[in-house]
Symmetry: D3
Subunit: 236 residues, 6 copies
């Protein structure tokens, strides 16, 4: 994805993006119930590449399925483009895994930007130590075949009650993951950068003892001037 | 679908079918959490035709969407083949409707065999009075646009934690709905008819005072002979 | 409340009202998880009068509390104005009752228009037979003191995840209950009456074999003329 | 069980019993989430006979298990004493059945007073028509082997978050089921009969227009005298 | 609040307080489902100051609301007294935030003792690093306006299924949060200090190999003497 | 338990064991919803010794119960054999504790291998620091008497929707806990050791850039030879 856009999204929080989307009437873009396998302290940013699971039927989901080179889960891991985020629709069911450490390691090696499921990962403790951000509901050791059949690649899906279209920009921080529609990603990112500057200014003021009313949001006019000065002095 | 197969499936219960599938290692074919809008006293039988919903994004799901003649929900209602069952993946979310009485009336007029959602119907009281079986989780008055975007027609879906492939045979009775994989539907139906004969014999015996142990299942040999006589006398 | 407004709202469905509110950006006005104790076949309509419960603390909620003539639950039953709907915030917890048949009988005798809780009623089978509409989650025999302390009268509350302000217009049918903000109730009712006329026309057409695409919504122009003729002939 | 005790419990509601137990500090005796398969309009009363299920392990729960004459579910059906209520601990999991119509028919024929599960029944529509009260969470067609292994007979269990000890008195009405500890059943029944008399008097007064405050509970003295007169005139 | 009382409550666990309240018949004082945003290793202690949210209605909850200097959430943050704990009733719904890092920073600067919600915080990772204890259900990035309307200040509320009255003493440790009714706080604290002394003695004994039966609780008399000696030697 | 078996199970992951059991048709052996109180980085291994809770009835569960030297929870702590894992059936209800730090300390001192509940522990922060693995749902400060009555020792139970028979081998890692039926534990352990060797080989290859298709599982023949060489060079 565009480097400038990516840089901006690396520097803002999911909370700020959620507010910028709320302003545009999009109230439901944060993937619910999902958190980092391990907090990384830096954002995950990338376009969505999706994998859709449906419920497993026993005769179609024996271990031999994995021997099929066209098995969609394995193909997803090998085809998710570099810099993209693999987002899995596991129907919010963490009772069996969406993937494990070997596949996530492969994603890492391939330069994938991150991996998200509304189910759970097996080998989660190991995945947490890998140099790739991963988000899930909870650790889940059973193989995906137990409950999930990998079906479709890169179709629109639901993940944690959010619509995810291939190419939507996915951003995660240490709290949550949000889905930014591709068409407005640049505008949203620009606004979020502006909002972040003001929020950083606000935090400084609040830490110094300023009350929040009138400051956040800035309804007292003098704060506008103060903020302008602050921006200059901080190169923001 | 094949008339002989349909006739057999009209004459057996979902419970019996569930046991026949259990014998074949398929333990998870009953759609969970779904019941008839109104009990009809006769079975619903037909091949599955599917509609997939994903979570609604506000900018893509305004009322104007319904003016699009290609809107997948509307197209589903006009293309679901006669004698088929329209099965909707609403991600088990009944907080907004999957469909309402006008669309279900159209399905009825078109000769569709039934309609199933793991969400809810609006106008459910009206739908319950229509001459088409309908199954859902609970009544839900909000328009589907509130939470659901109709996306795909006739792809494999999940419904109530069950995999549904287009063409699978869907059977509903006054209790539940079950999905019978197409490839084994005939065998399963044949076995279910046999099981039903024995169960009917058992019910008669039990009502007459026979204990269930040894009779159900029939481990005492004399019941085999009694059952054979019963079949002849009842033309079963 | 205004008789003309009430008459209009008696003649439309909650589903239609939900769509009229959706058009105005209000997507979350149907009380979730609540249904009629017994379907009445006619609407419940009236302004909201509210009762707020908080969790019960054992020392404050012994049976002797009911001897207090100022107990808010009892006062609610005696002060809810005639023609109003008593709406209770039971925090979606049906494990203990919100009220029982004696209090609901008193509401009926007093001319209250209906009663709604996002918890459950005790004596529900009896309440279902009374000549007052009642909506709840499920029957619940334990006295409210077990889990609920009646606290406030006629303050804004939540009920089934919907905001209810005193005076909002509450409408229930055999499916669901919806909350129409007071300020827009007349506009919404007018629009719902119009929509209902068109929907009734559509149902007739669909039953006669017309496909829904182009008809519902009416994007094919000739339906506008047909509808106008239908209105005249039906006095709608 | 004692005929006099049974007669009293046939004539009071679960709600009244819940209040009588609440007075004694027992706040948690109503089985949560369970309702009649079909309302019967008369109470179910009898001592508890219990069946405990644990989660099914596939190798121990094939259909052949039912051929074992010592299978606890089948033994339960043949040994639950006449006049008792068979209560099943299905761990609140209705995704597979606790029993079906053949076993419930056998219980009926044997004179068992009723059957309760915190799971679901298969063949529920049929069970609803039998002359034996049955309570469950929802219909569930899969055989119990799918998720439940019948393990223990007549041990203390949990059912719907309530402790059930063998011999406890189980009472069900059209709303709910309650468990009355054996040692206090007579006292509780006696008090409930008294309470019911007063409640019936109250209902008459309320229907005639008397406000509830001061009447229910009866804190205004004149109601005591009126009630005494009412009792005489009604032989209560 | 009283310094002596506060000191005692800083030195006991929520578990010990729960048992002391259980002895007094209060079984339901631990806020369910809430945990520290980040474990601090020291207790949070202070009187409750409350904020009540109801479900958000879209027309009343646009971003412009925050420009209102009387917005209850902002006012709560500026008026919660020093040394108090701000407790928010978010109806157990963490799908949108109850507050974020700027407001929690302001609470910290103002000397507030802590903040609790039965919803979630946005900017949770940042809040976890602040020098103020915070408890929630899970991180939640969407602005509170998405689902919550701040309505009331310092009224009795429910939080995590517990009644919270303004002035009740709120105590949190690394496990849970408990609400101690104001009127009995001193007695409960005194007893908890005593219990803690005995528990510390018990832990020493258990670590040295003493079995728990007879020791915890101390039914073998010699432990009473040993404990007295231990108290003297440990100045407890 | 057998030292060789224990050593093998210390060296494999729960995920690998889950797959080995899946191959044998056991799909449901991972205890759902349970995680380590604190990750230990080493496995917990031991035969199951069980404790069964039922719902608490108030009159049977006052604090005085703990003075009874035969109280099953206390007896469990003193009789669970060294090297065994104490597994508690708390009916998946973490609203009250299953045990606290004193009892878990005693288990540690007695050489018990670990402790698992599908409820919650009180004093969880303290338990997390003890030298004994402990698994639960979440911290829960209320005494077990609030909701749980300890009833049975060492009977078959359910824990997190899994059947646990006394003597089954329980294995926990930093993700999850699994129950291996005693009769197949050796075979499963042997296979898991083999699988682990291959997985470790695969991880090395994947980190070095090899795609997963053909490698995991190893369908390309040359990997078999490579793996054999790797085993030799790594003494696996």
């Amino acid at each position: 994805m565009d480097k400038a856009l990516s840089d901006k999204l690396m520097a803002v929080s999911v909370a700020t993006l959620a507010t910028a989307l709320f302003k545009r009437g999009l109230r439901n873009q944060v993937i619910q119930g999902v958190h980092p396998v391990k907090a990384k302290g830096v954002n995950m940013v990338g376009p969505a590449y999706t994998l859709r699971y449906i419920p497993a039927r026993e005769d179609r989901n024996q271990l031999t399925e994995f021997r099929n080179p066209a098995h969609p889960q394995r193909v997803a891991v090998e085809t998710c483009p570099e810099g993209h985020v693999l987002v899995m629709d596991s129907r919010k069911d963490p009772r069996a895994a969406s993937a494990g450490d070997i596949l996530v390691t492969r994603l890492m090696v391939r330069g994938v930007a991150g991996v998200v499921t509304d189910g759970g990962f097996r080998d989660a403790a190991t995945i947490g130590e890998l140099a790739i951000p991963a988000y899930h509901t909870r650790p889940s050791s059973p193989t995906n075949l137990t409950l999930h059949e990998a079906l479709d690649l890169n179709v629109p899906i639901g993940c944690g009650d959010v619509a995810v279209f291939p190419g939507d920009i996915v951003v995660g921080d240490d709290d949550c993951v949000i889905v930014v529609p591709q068409a407005i990603a640049k505008d949203v990112a620009d606004e979020a950068v502006e909002m972040t500057a003001y929020e950083d200014f606000v935090v400084e003021k609040v830490k110094a003892g300023t009350p929040v009313i009138g400051l956040y949001p800035g309804t007292q006019e003098h704060f506008a001037a103060e903020f302008e000065a602050w921006r200059k002095s901080h190169n923001r």
